[in-house]
Each structure stands twice: as structure tokens, then as C-alpha cells.
């Protein structure tokens, strides 16, 4: 008797929906075992991770704040991935957007500039992110360069550009040489939604982005094109869809969204430009995009869920003295299980018996 993976005749839509849930379930089971080995009460630990953060408005706000950049970036990435364009460099587009938007904030500092500052920062950040994403897209279309490599390598370029600016020309003159710009003026700061909290306008923008993506993919010809080009490139060619044009378009949109997320993070929770503004949002968003099945609503849920694990991980550290590494193991395990369970969409487990294999050989 053997356990074998057998290719399904067609992809299973049920499993596609259920597999993230199975993955989460398996992760939780593994975590329980891990907590037990660590000598922590697994129920209390799970409570700290998943329930406690949902029980007060402060933690809920923090989850929204953390999820905002993840969701915005992941929506853009999902468009790329649906169209079979592999943008791995959202982190770089995020940073370039943050830098471009901050330029206005830095230049208008202390000048009593009007309310135009913040919208202008948003527009410039989105444009810069889009342009930055167009570099790998155009290299792909014109020269056939792998967009995976070029977009990834441009992350480091963006990182060093930001580094240079905050250590050099834009450094806060009163900041004792610490690599940071001065705090942005209030006109250059993303407004808060709740007094005394940290929830900001960016979360609303993220929701609008989710809605726009859902409409684009579900109700427009362009969305249909994106999905067809990704799912059935040959059919798309016969249908007269231009794959190259779509690579350019999806890269530009995802770069713009990452750039916008970048400036929202800098002008929102951080309040100034400094190195390390992103704890890897551009890469974590890749996980979010796939965890959310490249579906806008799914991405919203996945982003919130991942944010929950961050906040919950912190509360578990405080309440249960569980080391931070366990949170990281936890996130890694989640992705591992998601990928593993995804193989069930195209394959299924089958118990096979050697004598039956012979029988199957006849047809």
C-alpha cells in the first residue's frame, strides 16, 4: 500500500478556498505542540496570540495600522502575479515612494505650506513607486531580463538611496548626527482617525484600494485580461491581449501602491524619514498576497491575520514570556503549510495498491 500524490483532472476550487484554513489549522496544532515543549500553557499562549489582541480597541487599531501597508502592497503584487509578472521588489518601490514623498515634506519644512502638501506627497510617492517598478518591467519587455532578479536587486539600490539622503543632505540639523530627517510638519502628516490612538487615514485608503481592486478584477475587461494572460497565455494571445503591455501596467500599478504605502507609513506612524522604516513590508506582502489567494478580499483578511500574529506575538512575549523567535517560527510555519496545502489544489492524496496500479496501466 502506498500513499501517492495524484494530479487532479482539474484544479479544485473547494480546496483553493479551504487550503488556507487547513494551513492555519495545522499551524495551530504545531504551535500547541511547540508551546507544550516550551513548558507554556498552549491554551493561554493561543489566547495571547489570537484572542487577546481582538478584545480591545487599542490592539484592534494596532492591527489595522500594521496591516495597512501589507494590504496595500499585496493588492498591487496580486495584480502582477495574476498576470504572471513577478514583482519581488515591492520593498524597493515602498522605499522610493517614501523618499519621494518625504522630499516635499523636507523641502516645505517650517514654511507654513498649506493643505496641499500631504496630497502632493501621496501623488509624488505613487508616481515614484510606479516609475521605479517600470525599470524591471521595461527591462523584461525590451530585453527579456528576469524581472524577479532586477526588481529584487533594485531593493538594495533604494535602501542605499534612502540611507544616503538621511545621513547626508536631509539629515536633521538638530538630530546629533543620527540618520533621520526632522519630524514632519503637521501639514505633512497623515491625520489620525481616533484621538489618542494610532489609527490613521491610511487604513481607509487601503480599504478603498481593496475595493478598487475587487471591481477591477471582477467587473472590468482589463481585470479579465489580467487573469487570462496569467492563467492561459496562449488563449490570451489568440484573444488579442497584449501580455507585454500588461506586464508594464501591473508593475506600474503595484509600484504606485507600494510607493503610496511607503509615504503613508513615513508620514503616518513614523513621522519622519529614517533607515529601517520598513521591517520588510515589501517581502511580507508577498506572503500576504499568496495567503490571500491573490484575491482582494482574501488579501485584506490575510493582511489582518498576519498583523494579528505580530501584535499577538508581542503580547505573548509580554504576558507569557514567549521568545520573539517563536513568533517568527510561527510565521514561517504558516507560509510553509500554506504552500504545502496548495499542492492539494492540483493534486490529491491517494492510497494506491500495487495490483491496482497494473489495472490502471490498461487505460
Amino acid at each position: 500500500m502506498q500513499l501517492v500524490l495524484e494530479k487532479r483532472a482539474e484544479r479544485s476550487n473547494t480546496i483553493a478556498l479551504v487550503s488556507p484554513l487547513i494551513a492555519i489549522g495545522l499551524t495551530i496544532v504545531t504551535m500547541v505542540i511547540l508551546f507544550a515543549i516550551l513548558g507554556k500553557n498552549p491554551l493561554l499562549a493561543l489566547h495571547a496570540y489570537f484572542i487577546a489582541p481582538l478584545t480591545d480597541s487599542y490592539s484592534l487599531q494596532e492591527i489595522a495600522v500594521k496591516a495597512t501597508p501589507l494590504v496595500m502592497i499585496a493588492i498591487g503584487l496580486s495584480l502582477c502575479y495574476l498576470a504572471n509578472a513577478w514583482n519581488i521588489g515591492a520593498e524597493g518601490q515602498f522605499l522610493v515612494g517614501a523618499v519621494a514623498g518625504s522630499w516635499i515634506a523636507v523641502k516645505t519644512q517650517g514654511t507654513d505650506a498649506g493643505a496641499w502638501v500631504l496630497p502632493a506627497m501621496f501623488v509624488l510617492a505613487a508616481a515614484a513607486g510606479a516609475l521605479y517598478a517600470l525599470i524591471p518591467a521595461i527591462c523584461k519587455v525590451k530585453f527579456g531580463a528576469s524581472e524577479i532578479l532586477t526588481s529584487l536587486m533594485l531593493v538594495y539600490v533604494a535602501d542605499l538611496l534612502l540611507d544616503y539622503l538621511v545621513r547626508g543632505p536631509w539629515r536633521d540639523p538638530n538630530g546629533f548626527n543620527f540618520p533621520t530627517t526632522a519630524e514632519f510638519d503637521s501639514v505633512a502628516t497623515v491625520p489620525l482617525l481616533i484621538e489618542g490612538g494610532r489609527l490613521h487615514l491610511g487604513s481607509i485608503i487601503a480599504l478603498l484600494v481593496v475595493a478598487a481592486a475587487a471591481i477591477l478584477l471582477g467587473r472590468t475587461i482589463k481585470g479579465f485580461e489580467i487573469r487570462v494572460v496569467g492563467a492561459a497565455p496562449r488563449a490570451a494571445r489568440f484573444g488579442g491581449f497584449n501580455a507585454n503591455q500588461l506586464i508594464i501596467l501591473t508593475f506600474a500599478v503595484s509600484g504606485a501602491l507600494a510607493g503610496l504605502a511607503g509615504i503613508i507609513e513615513v508620514a503616518g506612524p513614523v513621522g519622519h524619514l529614517q533607515p529601517g522604516i520598513s521591517p520588510g513590508y515589501g517581502f511580507t506582502a508577498i506572503i500576504v498576497a499568496f495567503l490571500g489567494r491573490l484575491n482582494p478580499l482574501g488579501i485584506l483578511i490575510a493582511g489582518l491575520f498576519l498583523a494579528l500574529t505580530f501584535i499577538g506575538g508581542e503580547q505573548a512575549q509580554i504576558a507569557m514570556k514567549i521568545p520573539l523567535d517563536v513568533t517568527k517560527v510561527f510565521q514561517g510555519m504558516l507560509l510553509f503549510y500554506v504552500l504545502a496545502c496548495d499542492s492539494l489544489i492540483l493534486y490529491r492524496f491517494k492510497l494506491s495498491f500495487p495490483n491496482r496500479q497494473v489495472a490502471r496501466g490498461t487505460h
Binding site: L44, D163, R167, G168, F176, Q274, E314
Partner: protein, 358 residues
Amino acid sequence: MRKSLLALATGLLLAGSVSAASAADKLKVGFIYLGPIGDLGWTYQHDLARQALVKELGDKIETTYLENVPEGPDAERSIEQLVRAGNKLIFTTSFGYMDPTLKVAKKYPNVHFEHATGYKRNPNMSTYSAKWFQGRYIQGLIAAKMSKSGVLGYIGSFPIPEVVSGINATMLAAQTINPNIKVKIIWANTWFDPGKEADAAKALIDQGADVIMQHTDSPAAMQIASERGKLAFGQDSEMIKFGPKTQLTSILDTWGPYYIERVKAELAGTWKSEDSWGGLDSHMFAMAPYTNMPDDVKKLAEDAQAAIIAGKLNPFKCPIVGQDGKPVECKGGDHLDDGQILGMNFYVKGIDDKLPGK
């Protein structure tokens, strides 16, 4: 199924209330750490101090720490999480937590904060730091004596005054031994990144440095110096086990007494916002044993240490000449004043390097 869920929920609630009750009697003290507690450097020393605190006052307090908190957008949330978990005295142990700590401090006036190495204070936010430049001065004397090539290698973290004053103190001391001493500086742009620190050490040795000093937190540079048969100074903690034949001495951060003193003040209700800047005399830091050097160098170091403690030796004694050849204004009478050291943004004469951003 539903019943078991209900039982589970009740259990959780009960467990929650029990822990809340026992914690209510004790003062909760929180710590935010930059690195992992196993970094064997900066964070490790803060955690040793926390452990000393628990040993001393464990029956009256309960401590909690968050490790690996980046100096970015997450710091504010992490600090606030500690506040919300009921911590009444919170130590944020790196310069980059300054603004986030201040933000949270203004929001929670009834919670007390202690921020390491910063300069912004609030009625409920103290700062504390140490005069490490005194230790650097002693290291500069040793380095100049021990270096055969006359080139010192210095791994900087960020060009902030604390680090710049360390480089200057080193050079001022070294120049009293060897007026032509050179220093090569590499900015790692990080406090803790063993890979980068090791690369920096290799590059410095390749450029002719035979004594390596560091203002970063891991023992990586010590290991490289040890492999290459060079000499080095530890940083933050005792690193002799990473270079038994390499370490000359190390500046040991000994926060324990300060933490105990501040927590006692909090328990007694006498905590006030203060600016503590302790030197060798205050035991805010200490020098590791002087090793791998001849007796005369050891004696020189010990004498300098005694003179600093006695207040007879000031590393920043005037006249001090800046890199540009002009004398530095002497605001403290016969030495630089505290403000000049805390805001130090220039190199002294004899350093060929350029201060980043200048």
C-alpha cells in the same frame, strides 16, 4: 463541543484573573531591548542588569522585556504594549527609542520612563548614560603602546556624539604615546550585525590595522582579530572567551546598580526625572581585566584609570585642536564641558577620516 468550548473560555478567564491578582501587588518593570538577549553585547548587558534587579528586588517587582525591537515604526507600539500590560517603570535601552519613548511618555503621564543614551526628557522620562569616553581614553593609551604598525582599526556604529567622542578620546590618548598614530574608521551603520562587523574588521586589518576597537555590539570583530593574530578591545561585555590571546580589555556596561537604585526610588515613591551620566567613578561601567599586554602597559592603564576615578585626568583636557587645525573652544574651563561632549560633532587633529555628513 460547545460545552468544551465554554469550559475552555471559563478556564482562560479564570487563569487571566488569577495572574492579574498576583501581579497587582508587585511593581511591574518593563524593558525594551534592541538586540536579542543573546547578542553577548549591549542587550546582553542590559538583561544581566535586569537579572541582577530581579535577584535584588524579585519579591517586590515583576519584570518583562521585549527583545529585538527595531528603532523604527514598531518601537512606539512595543513601548505602549508594555504600558498597557501594567508596567509602571519602563527602560528603553537604545538611542533610537528616544522619540517613540517621548511620545508614549506624553500619553501616559503616570508611567515613568528611563531612556538610555538620549537627550530628550520629560517630567516622567529620565535619561541615563555613561561616560564611556573615559574608558576609550584608557584603550587609546593601550592601543598606541601595543600597535606595531601604528594604525588602529575602529568600527563605528553611527556617527552620533557618543561614538565620535569615543574616537576622539581614543586618539587624544594614543597621541600622547605616539604622535603619528593613525586610525582607520569604518562605519557599520548598525549596532548589531555580526556579518557586517566581521567584514569591517577584516577590511581594517587588510588596511594595516593591528589593534581593532569597536563601537558595535557583537563579538564578531574580536573573533576575526583572534583568527588573524591581531589584538582587539571588547565592547559592552566581557569578550575574552572569543579571543583569549586577543582581548586587551573591554568596556563593560554595568547597569545593574543604576537599575536597582531607580527601581528602589520608584518603590519608595521618590522617583524623579533626572539626567544621569555616570563615569568610571560611579560604576555605570567598568573596565575588564587588562590582559595580553606587558606589565608596563598594564600599569599605565591602571594608573590612568585611577587618575580618571580620582578626577585628576580628564580625557578632554584643553587645549584640543580640531581636525581643521583650529583650537576647539574650551567651555568647561580647562576641559570641554558636558554639552560639548554630548553634542560632539568634530574630529580632533590627527584623524585623517572625514566625519560622515560634514
